[in-house]
Amino acid sequence: MSSDGHTHDHPHDDAAAHPAHAAVEEPPPGYYAVMQQAVEALLIDKGILSADEIRRAVEAMDSRTPAQGARVVARAWTDPGFKARLLADGTAACRELGIEMGPTRLVVVENTPETHNLVVCTLCSCYPRMVLGLPPDWYKSRAYRSRAVREPRAVLREFGTEIAEDVAVRVHDSTADMRYLVLPRRPDGTEGLDEAALTGLVTRDCMIGVTVPAPS
């Protein structure tokens, strides 16, 4: 018996490790993965959904990115009328840009010299997917979800964002049917940029509120 618990005649040569074998190296599916597969198979068997419809829905979900939200923000920075409509009714204003919110409604919250906004969902991971795509893993973590409401300034600091004491931090807990998009402040020194160039300054994290846009 060799020291690593088995007996055979080949050497273990880590420098020449063979390529990954998904069948042996991926862990077996867990409880929820099995349940998801079973429900999917039942929906297809009963003719409620087709495999292609499910595939298309997943593809559409994966195709949404923060570029959508960046378009919304850049338009608001350059068009005061649009910004007013966006703050009054985010869902309707996004429709002007061809973005449909589906069953949820969008509330856009504006950062000002007096207020910084931060979005979290403490109950699960509600996220404005129609404008930001899929949420980052940290947004879904228990640490972010519990700490963003309780010590938002400490969380912001860990993202490199220091909010002055004379600026209110306004946390939005996305607990029900609303979804939230932060409208960041347009950085100083960007007066000469057009809408397309401004879009490039708007990142996902700015629109969640954990950071602010950097000047170009």
């Binding site: 109950l123 409401v149 300034r153 209110a168 931090v169 946390v171 807990d173 607990t175 029900a176 049917d177």
Partner: protein
């Protein structure tokens, strides 16, 4: 013109600016009222509309009558006893009407949460 009600719903009881308190209750089932905000007093920021009651929808029931949903603004310093930040910091939470009760100003004068920054 009279409005044609297609879906049964409760009429909104509160308006923006009203002082309200979240019920301190612990019913079983699927709730969308976070624990940390139960029992806290805040101010109605806006009425969001009426929506199917998630506590019913979770069990494949109709969710009707639909419940008015509000965004309620709370002062962070009142919600967390050891909150590390200025008084002006706030938290907004979406709460359905059946989880809210009015705050009578006379019965609870000077509670910090009732003066949550707008």
């Amino acid at each position: 013109m009279t409005r044609v009600a297609t879906v049964p719903e409760f009429a909104p009881r509160y308006r923006a600016g009203d002082a309200v308190r979240v019920r301190r209750a612990a019913p079983p089932g699927h709730m969308r009222t976070p624990w940390y905000i139960r029992g806290q007093a805040g101010v109605v920021e806006r009425l969001c509309g009426t929506f199917g009651n998630p506590e019913e929808l979770a069990y494949n029931r109709s969710g009707e009558p639909r419940q008015p949903l509000y965004r309620i603004r709370f002062g962070q310093a009142a919600v967390w006893r050891d909150y590390a930040g200025p008084e002006r910091d706030t938290i907004d939470v979406e709460i359905y009407q059946h989880w809210l009760e009015p705050v009578e100003p006379a019965s609870n004068p000077g509670s910090p949460a009732e003066k949550a920054p707008r």
